[in-house]
Subunit: 349 residues, 2 copies
DNA sequence: CTGAAAGCGCTTACAG
DNA sequence: CTGAAAGCGCTTACAG
């Protein structure tokens, strides 16, 4: 009797803060926990009528499954790790943030959550924690380096992962925009307009993506039987000062157009040109890579490539989850791009 | 016999991928699971020698506890939620990213992980998921709005949380930089230099932080027996166009200095002044708020307030965890600031 | 100081 | 179609 009243008090409390369990539901409905579990998951044979009864009850009493318990029983965490560089530059943040938005959207649609870790070649300890503590079922990398310690670690650890970006290692799952062809097409368009002296300015040369863009640029030149000149390709440009030096040198050598590998660099280039009283597009053309907010409202409007980071996130998340559930997936997925032609590359002036 | 060999095979496999359990350790050492558990956690009475034996074995065989199981037994997830606005502007990202860095650093030092969700007044569904699915033990908010739906929801849900930023609601846990005094001090310094016609340009007026800064500004004026003029305070400035309009109006009215509530706005202000051929600091002074990379390398160097977002993250995480473990904590923690005086407010020219 | 046992809230062969 | 029971890998009163 005493025990009973205790129990009923406990149950009322449970109802108040939504902490009822599968056992409560089973008892209330006079069925077994097994049946309730099956009604919820839809797995296993179960009568249609029973299923409906359970589902209605659950709806009404706002039963929410305990994902920890579910995870323990199934040996899954229902978490995915998201590794962002601890050392990335300011201008990369919007890209990562938008990717993450896509990832969360997709993940939550299948009841997964995202755990974040900072990781770079300098420090992979947070990624190791995630794996060692078994806090995630798989991992999404926000970028790839040429000799990526995180990639090496994850391969060795044997945990499923996918990279946004490209890797030389074709055995790893990866999804990327087609940087190489995007850069090639943009460059070809410029060449078709009669522009010949093309400069290319880019960031860290140990990023795979930098290599891809450079390749596209060189390929385009080759299509026009041109070969790249040394002073016209400046990589590892990571400060306004270096940008200025590179731009000055290109202008001295008679550059007609400067292609910037990201919008941050482009902003520096434009600032330099303004300082040097070089007019765009009259004296020199300018093109960039992301069409991000950084370029917004610039006068003149800047010709730029455009990718879809949110879509990259969605596809990465989806592909990884498919792979984890044993489906056949392509190791490499390549997404498209747009070329946005604007005033900064006009030749009619 | 057969059973035995199976078992030993299974155990060898376990060793290979580090998936040994507390039961394996107990069996190997001829003690009970209880003892192993106690040796690891340090809770409960246990012989020093036994404890050492267990710890050595664990070290040697690389045993890692299963946090899911631990969590289920303790009714904890060892996860904290981190809510970032789904709709924040580009220039806020570095702040959030740096906060997050501090949060992860602190959290991982006590074996917690961070699960991310996007949330704003438009959409709190991801936050609801986190709570309903019991994926987190507590939540850290990256900012506060005046009528914050996320705050309202979390209060009602009864889950522990803390906000980075300030709230009118003094019952909620919060940690913030002292924006009001920072802005007051900066303004006072400018007033002390003899500057009288001070303009203030800020972003979204529904952010608590905007109000605080405005208050500091007005307080400083009051200390000098000045009252704010309407055209000299422009809020809800969220585009370069609006910035330009506000700046033009202030200049018409004879503004001697423009105080910008964030570095993004400051960048627009500087661009406008350049366009209008108004020289800084000769014709008009400029001061800003974050000393972020956005201002780096500007000529002239920009006078700015400086806060410590990483420290905000650390303190927020620490305070929340303390509160969750039942310790007494102050509802509101206020962190300091620095005033960096640079060329853009020089009056000697 | 140590251990057997129950429990956390689910899932899933297995048997009926 | 349904259920009793074992199990996921921990923790923790309780008893000794």
């Amino acid at each position: 009797m005493n025990e009973n009243s205790n129990k009923s008090i406990k149950k009322e409390e449970s109802f108040l803060n939504g902490k009822i369990t599968i056992a409560d539901v089973a008892e209330a409905l006079g069925v077994s926990k097994t049946t309730v579990s099956r009604a919820i998951s839809g797995k296993g044979r179960i009568g249609e009528e029973t299923k409906q009864r359970v589902r209605e009850y659950i709806e009404q009493y706002n039963y929410k499954p305990n994902h920890l318990a579910k995870g323990l029983a199934q040996q899954k965490t229902y978490n995915l790790g998201w590794v962002v560089p601890g050392d990335c530059s300011f201008s990369d943040l919007p890209f990562f943030q938008t990717c993450l938005g896509g990832i969360i959207d997709y993940a939550s649609s299948v009841d997964y959550d995202i755990v974040v870790a900072m990781g770079s070649n300098q420090d992979i300890s947070q990624v190791e924690r995630l794996v060692n503590n078994r806090k995630v079922d798989g991992i999404i990398l926000s970028r790839t380096l040429e000799n990526d310690r995180v990639v090496a670690y994850l391969k060795q650890a044997g945990i499923p992962f996918i990279a946004i970006g490209s890797s030389q290692d074709s055995s790893i799952l990866q999804v990327d925009s087609d940087h190489s062809n995007a850069c090639r097409e943009l460059t070809c368009i410029l060449l078709l307009r009669g522009i010949r002296k093309l400069g290319l300015i880019g960031g860290a040369s140990n990023l795979v993506v930098t290599k891809s863009r450079q390749k596209g640029f060189v390929d385009a030149l080759a299509q026009f039987r041109l070969s790249p000149e040394e002073d016209f390709i400046a990589l590892d440009i990571d400060s306004p000062l270096k940008t200025e030096q590179a731009v000055r040198k290109m202008l001295e050598k008679g550059a007609e157009c400067i292609v910037c590998m990201d919008d941050s660099i482009c902003t520096s280039v434009i600032a330099t040109l303004r300082k040097l009283k070089v007019s765009v597009p009259k004296d020199v053309k300018v093109a960039s890579f992301y069409n991000s907010v950084l370029l917004e409202n610039n006068t003149p409007a800047i010709t730029s490539l455009q990718f879809d980071p949110k879509q990259l996130g969605i596809v990465a998340c989806k592909t990884l989850l498919e792979k984890m559930s044993g489906e056949e997936v392509n190791n490499k997925t390549t997404l498209g791009y747009d070329v946005l032609l604007k005033e900064s590359t006009d030749i009619t002036q």
